[in-house]
Symmetry: C2
DNA sequence: TGCACTTTCGCAACACCGTTGCCAAAGTGG
DNA sequence: CCACTTTGGCAACGGTGTTGCGAAAGTGCA
């Protein structure tokens, strides 16, 4: 299928230096900010005066933005709230059905696709086994089959894909996924966009999970630690996922915790992944949790974050010892919680939605 | 002295939520971006067409911004460059003397003040001994004496202050500086701004140094490791200093590197600061460098940065073993360099200048 | 019941941003 | 000498958020 790709690069090339902004960018920014606040407000909606106070814009500007959103079908009136001594506020509310996003999680042995609406609520989910090692074309066939009839005709903004291992987020190209050399250099984003005919965004599974867990309006900096077949992290700093210069940030597994520890495949000694997985292999989840806790405490201190979220198969199989064990080491300086199993695939969808909101 | 403070809070209060932007913000942003490019271009200047290409703005917009800058005295014509087949470009250049910034480094036993022009070039520097433990009022007297007659009458944008230890960057209030309880909670920013009559910005010494080392147009993410009486770090991620939720980011000294290592005052075992300073106390700089290297390698992997800069008295007293020792452990994944002795005070001035440029 | 006040929001006019259209200036290259 | 390229300014324009003003719709007190 060679249908024209709607996600073609923007006509104006990206500037080489720090970007200037024009009126269109200004409008888009403010629109996204207001949309974000509307999403945070939920089905109850928010008044124009409220939005004005939160954004720093004048109420009049918010009114105009609201009118544009209503004309585009993205927002609608939602009745009014009780008066506080004056005219009761007219509420504006997001229209969740106005657009949808697809999250796709490709794991080593399974894949999950979820369709969410503009509010992030799940509409439908499909799961299928997957042989990630079968090669790119075979996997793409499987993905196309899974998504067949899954995408609404007109309201899909795009597909966010979460994959394990290193990749180039900007270009959507995979790099040396451990154990799967056949994927090295494969342009997953462009290939999938060509097949599906919608924009595609690719990111590491841990980054996607971190983005999906970004609490609406809550802590804007936290770390998501994923303990499964490996140990990785997704970092959200100041409300944005920290991907690093080469989308390599969050390589938490090879943080050295024991100078004279066992030799790791990466060449260092005492990597937290080797130590932690060793404890898991011994069935000693308490020790694994304490090791994870030491690494988490390092993160908390280094980055001054106040929330640590735990996920991954090993954690989810028996969350309690990890939650208490990590929290014990981290102490009072940060909260420790266990994230849900849907974190990754929800975050994959969020890769798409994040471009709509502020 | 109770002169009116020109750094009073902006008339419009900061928005509670994500900020919207208006036309004034748009103009200021673009102006700052162009000014930043002019600074990067140096005394040779840059053509309007060049600036347009780099910013993504139209040449006409750049022309208007340039006209405003010339009217404000911040930029001026700088002749023309050779033709490349058409009309030769008219060059625009920063006027370094148009404004100045002061950097002030308060250390435990000494203080340094430097006056820099808009281009960041040093104009004058003064140094004096300081008893940081003598208390806030006494130190402020010393600072006022040091800066007496040092500030140009009209062109000073502000004073950037770099201090050791924890503080609240947003409010400019010091917090529990190790060994100096008399400073806890002292509103250094407001007190100094009241005395000097110019805006004041306060930050941790390591953050200031990192900001000052941000290579113009070069690597936008790096770590600055400062080994002196303690061990700290300043993190620049994506072109901005990472300060954390409570300006506590960069607490590198208490990263645990040795699970069963010696007990540290912070309560953990095997903190890199204790290990590293122990090696320094033994006179074993090679070991200290390797320990620093393990911590640096952890940073490089975790944050995906490609530059590590070393500074602080211990490093500067004998840079060679640290540069080679850290580089040996970090390997090829990141460059390792030693920063100059003026990093902190230059960075303090940069705290002020950074608000002018993009 | 009446009236002053508060709060919210929209209409209209406005100021100002970057953009577009156009043209002059000033080089290169055949 | 002339066609072409490249640069940059002038003028008009479209569209952004802002300001001024007034209407709507409540509360609260006399």
């Amino acid at each position: 299928m060679n249908s024209p790709r709607p996600d073609a690069r923007p006509a104006t090339p990206a500037p080489l230096g720090p970007a200037g902004a024009n009126l269109a960018a200004l409008r888009d920014h403010n629109t996204a900010v207001v949309l974000g606040l509307l999403r945070d407000a939920g089905p109850d909606g928010a008044s124009r005066a409220e939005l004005a106070a939160r954004t720093g814009l004048t109420p009049q500007a918010v009114s105009k933005i609201g009118a544009r959103l209503r004309a585009a079908g993205l927002a609608t009136d939602a009745g009014r709230r009780a008066s506080t001594g004056g005219k009761p506020p007219t509420l504006l509310r997001l229209v969740p059905d106005a657009a949808h996003a697809v999250g796709l999680h490709l794991d080593r042995d399974a894949m999950t696709a979820t369709l969410v609406d503009l509010s992030g609520a799940e509409v439908a989910t499909r799961t299928a086994p997957l042989a990630f090692g079968a090669g790119a074309e075979a996997v793409l066939d499987e993905v196309a089959a899974l998504l067949d009839g899954f995408l609404p005709a007109t309201t899909v903004l795009g597909v966010g894909v979460a994959v394990p291992g290193p990749l180039d987020h900007r270009e959507g190209v995979l790099r040396k996924v451990t154990g799967f050399p056949q994927w090295d250099g494969y342009p997953l984003r462009d290939a999938l966009a060509g097949r599906l005919g919608v924009p595609v965004i690719v990111d590491k599974d841990t980054n996607a999970a971190a983005l999906g867990l970004l609490p609406r309006g809550g802590a804007s900096s936290f770390a998501y630690l994923h303990l499964g077949t490996g140990l990785g992290a997704g970092l959200v700093l100041g409300g944005a996922v920290r991907r690093g210069e080469r989308t390599g940030a969050g390589e938490f597994g090879h943080q050295v915790l024991q100078l004279d520890g066992p030799l790791c495949a990466c060449g260092s000694r005492g990597c937290i992944e080797a130590l932690c997985l060793g404890a898991v292999a011994d069935g000693d989840m308490g020790r694994a949790a304490r090791l994870l806790g030491v690494g988490a405490a390092n993160l908390v201190r280094l980055l001054d974050i106040d929330l640590v979220l735990l996920g991954g198969r090993t954690v989810l199989a028996d969350p309690a010892p990890f939650e208490t064990g990590v929290a014990a080491v981290v102490g009072g300086s940060a909260r420790v919680e266990v994230a849900g199993a849907r974190s990754v695939v929800e975050g994959a969808a969020e890769l798409v939605l994040a471009r709509v909101f502020g």
